[in-house]
């Protein structure tokens, strides 16, 4: 509590520390929010299982390193591949059979998929919290002047930026990306162009889940407690981040992620009395956005030429 009492005369050093924390949290939100926004852009549905995919990725890493003693770098590659596959499998089993069903049915199926993953994890791995494997390279503290920063907090923004650049390249400069953008606007005509819609949708889930896996690994290093319900709160917040930025818009999801991450950390830093309301921040921002700009900050207003 002493830390909070001393906040009024916050030094430049501790401000810098909060900024680093905020940016790294924001990066994690951004990586996960992209999955929500991409799926929404293409299927017009909220993939409620996305947060639980993050949770599963953390368990994959736990099993790889702690149980099977695979070196962390191999494990992380394996985790990304396995999580991407898991995303594609969920789409195949829970969403594809409902391709022509009303949107509400797909949404309910998404909630079902989310519960299934949570309870499956609970059953298989027990509800007892496990600890994400410690990798000293990332968990060590680095002292810069008078501030001490965990190495992972520096790694997170760098990995996030690289992932984003790769993603934007795929979406904007490859044939698959072009097909994704086309499918997100017009299913039927995309079909007439000879695009296999199902493949494009699977690809979207694979990319979104791979980014979620990258986010999950870094999340696990930063916040090492793994439980079957670990994905629920980040999942909700990242969904909110996607809405704030303008759902369906990748850059919007990144912006929304940073707004929430930085906002959450800085509010607690400046107003320590509000620290109990930390999780409420995202929801308050959501309400404000829905009031004043329901399509989100970068969301487009639909216009149609007749």
């Amino acid at each position: 509590m002493e830390f909070f009492q001393g906040f009024l005369n916050m030094s430049g050093a501790s401000f810098a520390q909060h900024m680093v924390n905020g940016v790294s949290l924001g990066s994690l939100y951004a990586l996960i929010a992209i999955g929500y926004t991409m799926v929404y852009g293409i299927l017009l549905m909220i993939n409620f299982a996305h947060g639980d995919i993050v949770m599963m990725a953390c368990y994959f890493a736990y099993f790889g390193i702690t149980i099977f003693h695979v070196p962390w770098y191999f494990t992380f590659i394996g985790v990304i591949v396995a999580t991407a596959l898991l995303g594609a499998i969920i789409e195949r089993m829970a969403y594809r059979p409902l391709r022509d069903a009303p949107k509400n049915s797909v949404l309910i199926s998404a909630i079902g998929a989310s519960f299934l993953l949570e309870n499956l994890a609970n059953y298989l791995f027990s509800g007892r919290p496990m600890s994400f494997p410690d990798i000293p390279l990332f968990s060590q503290n680095i002292a810069i002047g008078s501030i001490k920063i965990q190495a992972i907090s520096m790694v997170i923004p760098v990995v996030t930026i690289i992932s984003l650049l790769v993603l934007l390249h795929i979406v904007n400069h490859t044939k698959t990306g072009m097909a994704m953008r086309a499918v997100s606007k017009d299913y039927e005509i995309a079909r007439v162009m000879g695009i296999n819609i199902d493949n494009v949708i699977s690809m979207t889930f694979i990319i979104g889940s791979a980014l979620a896996a990258i986010g999950a690994i870094m999340w696990g290093i930063r916040y090492p407690g793994i439980t079957p319900y670990l994905g629920v709160m980040p999942g909700l917040k990242c969904f909110i981040a996607a809405v704030i930025g303008g759902i369906g818009n990748i850059k919007g999801a990144v912006l929304g992620g940073f707004i929430l991450g930085l906002g959450e950390i800085l509010i607690v830093a400046f107003f320590p009395d509000l620290s109990g309301y930390r999780d409420a921040f995202a929801f308050i921002v959501l309400i404000i956005i829905l009031f004043y700009r329901p399509t989100g900050i970068l969301g487009e207003r639909t216009t149609e030429k007749v």
Binding site: M178, R181, A182, V192, M193, K305, V306
Partner: protein, 238 residues
């Protein structure tokens, strides 16, 4: 040759097409005229596989195509310029053309074809990098035609290409239709602008509430007094 036999299509119990038969011979321009709700678009949508066929058969060069998915139908060489243009608004003009060639892998030829489209529609070249959503209606129609041509179809189906366009642009579009037909492409054209459509058509069909009521060469139909009264806005002479 495209052959449609006894085609029935229904939406929730209502028959939009009540058993129609028609042929589109290779190299010809065939037009289908009819009022709103006659079932013209439904016919094209069922040929390209976007609408399920209740009964009847559609064959293209002897191969049955109803029941195939759109992807496979497009592979046989049929494509559609949809009603209302439906270019991808979030893709650039160039990307819209590239996505038209989505199923092709011959990079060099794709480039050549893009240049060919730009020759047909110089306006598109000027706007190559613009998002298609920012184009005018006429430019979007040119793009929709160009995009369809990019898959090198043998049969090009067009659904109301003149809808909502200025007369000068309509003229342009019809000139292009003729030009590509002369290069050997078969065209199935749906129009409310019956006058212009029949003028360029080798063969015409009249569709009324799900039934074909008349057929003939373009000229025959143009000179038919009943058609003149119903579709060309001319008074019947008594």
């Amino acid at each position: 040759m495209l052959k449609v036999e006894n085609l029935v299509v229904s939406y929730g119990g209502i028959e939009a097409l009540k058993g129609i038969s028609l042929d589109v011979p290779d190299g010809e321009i065939v037009t289908l005229i009819g009022a709103n709700g006659a079932g013209k678009s439904t016919l094209l949508r069922s040929i390209i596989g976007l609408v399920k066929v209740a009964s009847g058969e559609i064959t293209y060069n002897g191969q049955k195509i109803n029941g195939l998915n759109s992807q496979k139908i497009v592979k046989t060489g049929i494509t559609l310029v949809p009603e209302g243009r439906r270019v991808f608004p979030n893709l650039s003009v160039l990307e819209n053309l590239q996505i038209g060639a989505y199923m092709r892998n011959d990079k060099e030829d794709i480039k050549k074809d893009i240049n060919w489209i730009y020759e047909l529609f110089p306006r598109l070249q000027e706007r190559s990098w613009q998002m298609a959503g920012t184009l005018s209606g006429g430019e979007q129609q040119m793009l929709a035609v160009g995009r369809a041509l990019m898959c090198r179809p043998k049969l090009l189906m067009m659904d109301e290409p003149s809808l909502g366009l200025a007369p000068l642009i309509i003229k342009d579009i019809f000139r292009i239709i003729r030009e590509i037909n002369q290069q050997g492409m078969t065209i199935l054209l749906i129009e409310q602008n019956a006058n212009m459509a029949l003028k360029i058509a080798d063969k015409g069909y009249v569709l009324e509430t799900g039934n074909l009521t008349m057929t003939g060469t373009g000229r025959e139909l143009l000179e038919n007094p009943e058609i003149a009264a119903a579709y060309l806005g001319k008074k019947k002479k008594h």
